[in-house]
Structure formats: structure tokens, C-alpha cells
Symmetry: C2
């Protein structure tokens, strides 16, 4: 069997152990060149990493590192069951010439295209659907709230009041952690709604979960340190940590959530765990109490840190929520991360992180040097919105709205899509996962379905994209919070037509 594979892709790599170029880069460069020069054909399967490692007499990790880079660059794609293969959607002008220079004469806009970066040219040929920029999709965008429930007229009045005569501390953006009033309002809200006390001084307003996590990573991790992340999980977590040069170690999510013991076995030296205990993304799992205590005990014993991502914990439709890790934390190792953009409206772009007190002084230094701090324009108005009770009212209303939308989606899936997709109720959140039925699972390619659905005006997201590791499960993520109830049934019917066409069943 290995013989066969070896013949399937005779890569002919030659490594120079004495070179200053690290081995993984030598591997990556030679495979990239083979692809660009068409010695490896689009769609061709690559030998397994194990086989390549043994053939080249290098560690398997070295091969994996090279392949990860090629996957990130778009030259190589990972398939669920069949390992790695050469991408089929490489732009023509990149092929047949080494180093990415076009071989033929430039086309009409060729002169300019030729001077684009490789990554930009790959992006141009990326088939990921984008919807018209002026209109939202008909149904199922992920992470979008309802479009009509937010009280914009009230919001406009609050903005006007805040900016009429702002202090220079606000207009001059002096405090690196953001608006003092907003930080006080958040602390009060967390005490009432999440059951833990925190000082406004330990809250940093950020422009999103990624910035919150970047800050935390900078504070507690050095380059090449390891962090545990959830598998599958939020892509932004991986991206933010990669930008901080942190090594991410994917840890599987089982029915009790993040598998702490497996994490410790896989990377005992990890210094940070990034978890979403209230409602895991994308699976919706709730981290069990036993696991919560294990994780806290790990952090205490190993001087580790925990990033608790509570991105949609506000939306819970059944049962009582468990106490957040931050509320159970006795040793000051938990940072609590949450966002307002998903709760109110996307253009808000305001998130926050509650830091362990010990990290505050270094965070002040870091944020004082940070060029891309969160916009202060809406922070004062948001402070008032929270303090005057409008946030609580808005959450109460949208909770009822979203619970009904989840019911409607469950009904729509059963009525129109049971032949292709199976799904289950979720006790909380703003989206559902639909997995392929057993009959179509082996050939189900979620990215292809996502692209076909986009043609029909429907936004669904591929589950496989949430995986960092090589074993990717396929499925669809359907956001219902931003889809009016009346649109759900017709959208399910339209999605059924897409699946019938693409599976032939």
C-alpha cells in the first residue's frame, strides 16, 4: 500500500541537511515548485506525511509543518478521508512557470495582475462565495443578530448626547483600555448577569475577539509557546494565536466538551487554554462541571492561563447555565472574553476582555503602544445603553425571538431536508449544525454545498473550515438569529433543491 502511494506521487525531493534553510521550508519550496511547474497535476494526491517522512528520513512533524504552510497558501487541500492533494483551483497564470511568474503574454489586465502577490492571486481565484455588498443573504448567515429588533432611534439619541460635548479623555482617546463609563457598566452587568465580580480597571475594550485574544497571548505567551485550542473551533482563535507566533494544539471536543486529559497528554507544556465553556463554537457543547474544575486545577498547578470565550452565552433557551470559569477561579488565572457586536449589530465592533488582575499593568503598557484600539465612537452610548437597562430589555426580547427561530429551523430541516441532513435542538446559541445523513456522508463536501447554496442566495458555512487538524468533519452551520421566521421555511426548501442537485438524490 505505501508502495502504491509512493508511485502515485513521485515527488523526488532532495533535502540538504547542511543548508541554512530549515528542512520544512526546503520541503515546502520543492513541492510548491513541482505544483507550479505542473510536475504535480491539479487534484493529484500526495503521499501520506508518514511515508514522506520515512522516505526523507525526517520527523513527521517537519513534513506536517511544510504541508500546513502549503495548505495555508492554497497550493494543497486536505480532504476528509483521502489525505492531501494538489489544489484544483490554482489560477492558470501561476502554473507552468516557476516562482509564480506568468509564462504567456499578459492578458488585457495581465500587466497589473502579474505584479500582484501570490496570495492575492490565489484569493482572486478563491471560489468562496461573497454576497452582494449592499444586501444580506436571504437566510442563515452565521453570527448575525436580528436586523429589526435593535432600537436604533434610541441609539441615535444616546450617540448625540455623548458627542455633544465630549471630554478630551474620550475625543483624544487617552485611556488605552477604552471608555471608563463603559468599563464600569460592563463590570456591573457581569455581576448581575454572570455572577462574578470584577474591577472596571481590569476590563479592556477591544475591536473583537481576535484583538482580545492577541492581547492575552502577548501577555502570557512567548513565540513558540503552546496553547490548547478547541477542535473544531472558531477560526479567529487560530488566526489570532498564529499572528502572535503561538503554537496551537487542537484538542478534541467530546460530549462533555473540551477534553482536558487529552490536552494534557498531547501538550503537557501548554501555557494557555482557549475554551468556550458556555456554548462551544461550532458544536454547541456545554463544558461539564467536572471538566471545568479539572481545567481550573490545571491552571493553578501549572501556572497556566485560561481564555474563557463567552461569545453567545446570553442566548440560552432551556436549563440553567453553569457558573462561568471566571466565577469559579480562585487563583486569578482566567480571562473572560465577550462581544457586543453579535448581540446588538455587527457595525458596532465592540468586544471586551476581563483580565486577571496580575496582567493589568503589563496590559496598560501593551495597549498604550497599540495602534488599532477599539473605536471610541460608540463606547459612551453603549455605556448608557447598558446602564439604563436597555441591554437587558433587548436580550429578553431577542431571546424569545431566537428561540422561536430555532424551532422554525428544526421544523424546516425536518420538513424539507431530512433526506440529506440531520440536526438536533440546541439549548442555546444563534446557529445549528446540520450533518450529512449516513447515505451521503462519504461523498459530502461541505464547501461545494456552501458554494452552491450561495448561488441560491443562501449563506451557510462549512463545518470543515472550523477544523485545524487534518481530520475534518463535514457539515453545515446554519445561523438562524439573523433570519426572520417567515424566511426560514422557504430557505429550507431552497436548500433542499440545492442538495438534490448536488447529490443527485
Amino acid at each position: 500500500m505505501p508502495r502504491l502511494l509512493r508511485k502515485a506521487a513521485p515527488l523526488g525531493l532532495v533535502l540538504d541537511a547542511a543548508s541554512r534553510t530549515p528542512l520544512h521550508r526546503q520541503i515546502g519550496e520543492q513541492v510548491r515548485r513541482a505544483i507550479l511547474e505542473r510536475r504535480l497535476a491539479p487534484g493529484q494526491r500526495l503521499p501520506s506525511s508518514r511515508l514522506m517522512a520515512s522516505e526523507l528520513d525526517v520527523a513527521r512533524g517537519t513534513v506536517l509543518l511544510a504541508m500546513d504552510q502549503l495548505i495555508a497558501e492554497g497550493y494543497v487541500v486536505a480532504q476528509a478521508a483521502s489525505g492531501l492533494s494538489v489544489a484544483t483551483d490554482l489560477p492558470d497564470e501561476m502554473l507552468t512557470a516557476p516562482h509564480g511568474h506568468p509564462a504567456g503574454p499578459p492578458a488585457a489586465d495581465g500587466a497589473a495582475t502579474a505584479a500582484l502577490s501570490r496570495r492575492a492571486r490565489l484569493a482572486l481565484h478563491d471560489a468562496t462565495p461573497t454576497f452582494g455588498f449592499e444586501e444580506a443573504p436571504l437566510a442563515f448567515p452565521t453570527g448575525q443578530p436580528d436586523r429589526e429588533a435593535f432600537p436604533f432611534a434610541l441609539w441615535a439619541r444616546l450617540l448625540e448626547r455623548e458627542w455633544r460635548r465630549p471630554s478630551w479623555a474620550v475625543a483624544g482617546a487617552l485611556h488605552p483600555f477604552g471608555h471608563a463609563g463603559l468599563r464600569a457598566a460592563i463590570a456591573a452587568y457581569l455581576g448581575a448577569a454572570r455572577g462574578f465580580a470584577c474591577e472596571p480597571e481590569s476590563i479592556v475594550i477591544t475591536s473583537g475577539m481576535r484583538q482580545s485574544l492577541s492581547l492575552l497571548a502577548w501577555l502570557v505567551l512567548d513565540p513558540d509557546d503552546a496553547a490548547w485550542i478547541e477542535e473544531p473551533g472558531f477560526v479567529g482563535t487560530r488566526e489570532a494565536l498564529a499572528l502572535a507566533f503561538v503554537r496551537t494544539v487542537p484538542v478534541p471536543i467530546d460530549e462533555s466538551g473540551f477534553a482536558v486529559e487529552r490536552a494534557m497528554a498531547a501538550a503537557p507544556q501548554a501555557k494557555l487554554a482557549v475554551v468556550a465553556p458556555a456554548h462551544q463554537f461550532p458544536l454547541g457543547t456545554v463544558l461539564g462541571l467536572q471538566r471545568r474544575l479539572e481545567l481550573l486545577s490545571w491552571a493553578e498547578r501549572h501556572q497556566g492561563w485560561i481564555a474563557e470565550d463567552d461569545f453567545d452565552g446570553e442566548y440560552r433557551y432551556a436549563g440553567r447555565p453553569l457558573a462561568p470559569l471566571r466565577a469559579l477561579d480562585r487563583s486569578g488565572r482566567v480571562a473572560y472574553l465577550a462581544s457586543f457586536s453579535k448581540l446588538l449589530f455587527p457595525a458596532l465592533r465592540l468586544s471586551y476582555v476581563v483580565l486577571p488582575t496580575a496582567l493589568v499593568p503589563a496590559a496598560e503598557k501593551r495597549m498604550a503602544a497599540e495602534a488599532a484600539r477599539a473605536s471610541l465612537l460608540g463606547q459612551g452610548a453603549l455605556a448608557r445603553f447598558i446602564a439604563d437597562g436597555h441591554l437587558a430589555t433587548h436580550l429578553r426580547r431577542t431571546r424569545l425571538l431566537y428561540a422561536a427561530r430555532q424551532e422554525a429551523l428544526i421544523a424546516g430541516l425536518e420538513r424539507h431536508l431530512a433526506r440529506w441532513l440531520k440536526s438536533a435542538r440546541d439549548s442555546g446559541g444563534m446557529h445549528l449544525i446540520a450533518r450529512p445523513a449516513a447515505a451521503i456522508a462519504p461523498t459530502f463536501d461541505d464547501r461545494a454545498v456552501v458554494a452552491a447554496a450561495a448561488q441560491a442566495g443562501i449563506a451557510v458555512a462549512p463545518l470543515s473550515a472550523c477544523h485545524a487538524g487534518r481530520r475534518r468533519r463535514h457539515g453545515l452551520i446554519l445561523g438562524y438569529a439573523g433570519t426572520p421566521e417567515r424566511a426560514i421555511d422557504p430557505a429550507c426548501a431552497a436548500l433542499a433543491r440545492v442538495l438534490r442537485a448536488s447529490t443527485g438524490r
Copy 2:
């Protein structure tokens, strides 16, 4: 002489050419360890890179790469004339133990501090002054506009009107380039005020110069490609390009500005030039017409790209401005970058880049995947502010204000500071450069003066920090735009007391 130096710091490095760790990392790690274990004492001079390279039999570039990393980490500092030496301000708990683990028993907050990253611990011991977060400094912050001139009451009304009933394209943040109305208003403004036509479709609203430049770098440069930057120049340029893994090549600024010929000699393969032709930061030089044409001709011949940073071109007090590169560009190679935060108020955080048309499709892909897009909260109001002529009015008023403030600063420098600092009028901008007088120049340390001035409530910035290369000129950057005229003379007197104390003259 080399002998002497060699004895001055017997590093005893041993490199393993067969190791998978690149040579520059081997060098960096061994020097770092020697510092942490106190085998190299704080303040000790290091041998020259040339000597180290010859002793170790490696390329000088390899040694420079290792040293740059150590400088970035704060272990090593570069001095103007005397080369590199071990930092004197390393935190005690990092020393005497390898790998940065503290040796002694933890202090009161030691347990938590020990689990901070190395970079966070270094930041905590950084002596760079921070002002109280609730109050601005008494005088001379760089890049800050006047605190009272902006019409906030009008601004508040515009905000209220925009958010009363926003479209979902705005509230849902659908367009990855930002608010359509703002992009149209900017295009019209540029046509009238800068003399070039551009399509609103080619304008991307960003959260700052750094984001504009990151986008451009991503579009036209691949990792390890080279870009020319100005030396000295804006720190954010260097940082944004480094984050895009671009190699920056500092090009000296002479009396005609960016030295195009020297750039081509230093790095003929560069693909991007980042320049501020209207008013170079920090030197204030205007790029001559001949140089402008040379640069454009280079871009056309080599399929290179130009980032034209016009960060304060609005403030010109004498003479006629030259046409922007973008207005002279016949081959679509110039991206034009500017910002509103410095013109209106810092909390606005809105900048923009006018892209060459050929880059727009790939930029849409990139920005659609960008998590940290500019906040939309103020974009609609700013569109109205520009379209209704308020921007033009505000610029007219502040131009008079700032011209008078520059005069006052020149007078204050002459009255109080002539013994220590020399300066010259600038035909534009929002700051002046003051260089040490000949008598004190050899020992003048601008960072020390900046720290001492901060103690007196005065914000000045060190010229040396604007240098990317090893040869750093020292001097002070004094921002006058954000300093009321009445505060300028007393602040100069206070700065004189600081200089008298720190120079002993």
C-alpha cells in the same frame, strides 16, 4: 582594534551548521542565554557584527538578523556611535536564571509575574513615559490636533441623523470597503483639494495608516519580498510591513527627500516604495519633482508599487504644494494613503487608501475576510461632514491656528532653548524637529530627555526611534498643533529647565 573588541566580549558562541535551527537563531539564543546568566553584564559592549561574522565564519547578515531580534526583544540596545551593548534595564527576576525563569522565591505578586511572557515582563520594565490616562500632557504631543476647534455639537447631530434609521448595509457592516457615502465624499474631496480623480469604488476605509499599508502589502508583496522605507521614518510603516513578513530596506532622506537612486542601488529587487512626498515624517522634507518622476518611472519600468503617505498634507503654510504622485501616475502603480484622525480628533480612527484600480478585486476578497475592519459608527456622519463643506471650513480655521502655533514654538525655542536645541521653520505640518546644538550633540540621548521631560508633564518624542538602521540621529519631535498658543512659551521654559538639569549646562 578588532582584537581589543574581541577581548571586550568573549561570547564563546558555538554554532552547529548541521542543526535544524537556523544559524541566526543559534546565535540569538546563545547571546540571550549569556545575558540572562549574567555572563554578559548589563551595559557591556558587544563585538561588531563584522567581527562576530568573521569569527563565526557566517555571513554578516546572519549576525545582523540575530542582533535585530535581540534588539526587538529588548536584550540588546543600539547606541548612536558605539554599536551594540547589553541592555541595562533588564528586569532583575529575569537575570541569573536561564530561559527567563525566576531564580529566587516569588515576591508578593511573583507567582503571577513569573507566568507573564518575557515580552510582557520587558514592557513592565520599560521606562517609556506614559501620561495619566485621563489628562493630556501640557504640551507637544505628536500627531494630535487642537482640542477645541472641532465642532462637536454639529458632529453629534450628524451622528444622530445617521443612526436614527440606518440601512442594514451600514448596521450590518456589509461592504468590506466601508460606507459608500463616505467613499463618494472622499473621492469628491480629493478631486477638489488634491487635484486627482478617482473612483469611490477604489477607496477602502481603514482604521489607520497601519491597516492601509497592511492591505497594500498583502496585495502586492509576498513574504520576504523587499520594500523601501524612509530612513528616518514613521515607526508604523516598519511595524505594518514586518507583520506582513516583508523585508524593509531603509533608504536615507536627503534634502530632496527619498533618495531614489540609492534605493535602487541598495535593493534593486524591491517591489514597493513607501514614501511621504508632501511632507516627510519626521523630517518635513518635500520630495522634489525630479525625484517624483524618477520614482514613477521606476514603478512603471519594474512593475513596482508606490504607497504615497499624505498624512498631513492638508497643513501647508507657505508656497504651493507639488502635485501628489497619484496625480502624476499614468500607469496605475500608486496607492494614496491618508487619515482623518489627525485632522479631526484621535478617537475617530478613520483612514483610507485609494487603490490602483487593478488591485480592487483582490482587495475585496481580502477585506471580506478581514476581522478588524474600520468602525462604521462614524463613517456616515463623516461623509455628511465632508459633503456639506464642514471639513473644508475646519481645515481653513485650523490652518491659521497651527501656523500661529508654529511661529510661537519657533519663538519659544529661540527664547528659552537656543543653548541646547536648534530648529528651523517648516513650510507645513503639525510638528517641528529640534536637534541638539553642536556642543552637546555627542552626548545627547534623546530618550533620556524625553523621559525627563515627561516628568515635567511635557510630551516630546525621540527622533532616534524613527530610525530603522543602526545609525540613529538624536533629536526631539515637538508637536505644536495640539498645544494651545498660550501654553507654548511656558512649556519651552519648562523644557529648558529639563535640559539644563540633564546636560549640566
